[in-house]
């Protein structure tokens, strides 16, 4: 299962970037595979603030609608508008062009508290 080393993860299968400042958030390769065929992404409003664990966006396949939860507390600074016309990027490039929104963490140290790639992969016995 593909889980890049430079990202952090939470149990509900979101990933978050680790660079300084606003960081991208998306769903993991495992999550996109489970959902399959993403047909709609509901993006949050720019400037909206969320606490860790709040539902921020919704990713929908024909099969199911899935909430995307904030991995850390923060404010949305940018959304991936390309997904409105091309939601399939969440499947084809979940860690790249399929990012969903960018979050400015309230406390940047929170990201380091999340699972690293090894810990995330360990859940799948890998």
């Amino acid at each position: 299962m593909n889980a890049p080393e430079n990202l952090r993860y939470q149990q509900s299968h979101e990933w978050i970037g680790t660079e300084n400042g606003a960081v991208p958030v998306g769903i993991t390769d495992h999550a996109q595979e489970e959902l399959s065929d993403v047909v709609y992404v509901e993006l949050p409003a720019i400037g909206a603030s969320f606490s860790k664990g709040d539902p921020v966006a919704v990713v929908e396949s024909v099969k199911a609608a899935s909430d995307i939860y904030a991995p850390v507390t923060g404010t949305v600074t940018e959304v991936n508008q390309v997904l409105e016309d091309n939601p399939g990027l969440v499947n084809s490039d979940p860690y790249g062009d399929g990012w969903i929104f960018k979050l400015e963490p309230g406390n940047p140290g929170d990201i380091g508290e999340l699972m690293d790639a090894d810990a995330y992969r360990a859940q799948f016995g890998q």
Binding site: S36, V58, E60, S61, V62, K63, A65
Partner: protein, 344 residues
């Protein structure tokens, strides 16, 4: 895997959309072992079935089948099924998975002397093969599996020992057939069929594609779109209720509804433009007021837009009525359209 009436069923294999397209363009195979198979036998079997089912068995010759409904006294739907005439005193019924026990109990309660009701569901495994290339697949496996010739549309064919039954029907809007074969041979027969399917450019399909395919055709799903509290007249299935033929349980209620006016109708609703996939229980609004909820909904892979079914007050169910579907507090414009949503 999801639990479906006690059966572990795959929702999807390659993905609902590719599986859906495969069936529209080539051929797909669905495991339908969960469907129930009943035989009704004996002198007077036709008369008795006509007293239980809405359609008219007199229309059938040997080897032909018809869609029919089992109603309660109130005219509500217990189950929808297909009944095939094997002979004048022998009929084969294919019923819904989750309703098998209820159906056999209801039929059993009303059984008259001399008629035998035999639940053979455990004897058969079953698959549906659907799509424009289904006939090619059949010809490819026929001699190897010792299948009888493919029957005509809505027909039934059996091998000499009646270990295998083929019904030319389906739930996708495409040409195709259902095969009922010995449960103990399930693995090897399924393997042979799947090889032929792959060879014809097809693939295995799950419950997800089965649902989007049937919904594009506007076919109701019992439990979602049919219920003991709704009549087939409300569900738009009046064609399958022969009110001038033999009396059946629920007929009086249907006649009364016809006299008094059918209060609600199952409307086919299409969202105009882009939206999230509509799903069951999403509210339906007319002029800002809630007038019903979807009983089925999906994003149509063929049309790339949201479609669904909802019971609406009869005056709002006419084609062209402007509606809105509420999805997570946002409202999307929609209208009542003609069935089927998509041409097969």
């Amino acid at each position: 895997m999801v639990d479906f009436a006690g059966w572990e069923m795959p929702v999807q294999f390659a993905g609902i959309i590719p599986e859906h397209r495969t069936v529209r363009e080539a051929v797909g195979i669905f495991d339908i072992s969960h469907m129930g198979q009943l035989f009704v036998e004996g002198p007077g079997a036709a008369q008795w079935l006509d007293s239980m089912l809405t359609n008219d068995l007199a229309a059938l010759s040997d080897g032909q089948g018809q869609y029919s409904l089992l109603l309660n006294e109130r005219g509500g739907v217990i189950d929808d099924l297909i009944v095939y005439r094997i002979g004048a005193e022998r009929y084969f019924l294919v019923v819904n998975a989750s309703l098998r026990e209820q159906d056999t109990a209801w039929l059993g309660e009303h059984l008259t002397p001399g008629i035998e009701l035999i639940d053979s569901s455990d004897r058969f495994a079953a698959v549906a093969i659907q799509g424009p290339r289904s006939g090619d697949v059949y010809e490819a496996v026929r001699s190897g599996l010792q299948f009888p010739p493919l029957p005509p549309r809505n027909g039934i064919a059996r091998d000499a020992e009646e270990t295998t039954i083929i019904c030319r029907t389906g739930y996708t809007g495409e040409d195709g057939f259902e095969i009922f074969f010995p449960a103990q041979d399930a693995d090897s027969t399924y393997g042979t069929l799947l090889d032929a399917i792959s060879h014809a450019g097809g693939q295995a399909c799950g419950l997800g594609a089965r649902d989007s395919l049937r919904l594009e055709m506007g076919y109701p799903l019992n439990g979602n779109d049919l219920s003991p509290d709704r009549t087939p007249l409300e569900a738009g299935l009046g064609f399958f209720c022969k009110l001038d033929a033999a009396a059946f349980i629920g007929r009086e209620a249907l006649l009364e509804q016809k006299r008094n006016g059918i209060p609600s109708r199952l409307a086919a609703i299409a969202i105009i433009g882009k939206s999230p996939p509509p799903r069951a229980h999403y509210p339906v609004l007319a002029e800002g007021q809630r007038v019903g909820e979807l009983c089925s909904g999906t994003l149509s892979p063929s049309l790339s837009r949201g479609i669904g079914l909802a019971y609406l007050p009869a005056d709002l169910a006419g084609i062209g009525t402007q509606l809105e579907i509420e999805i997570r507090d946002r409202r999307f414009s929609a209208q009542v359209v003609k069935k089927p949503f998509a041409k097969s």
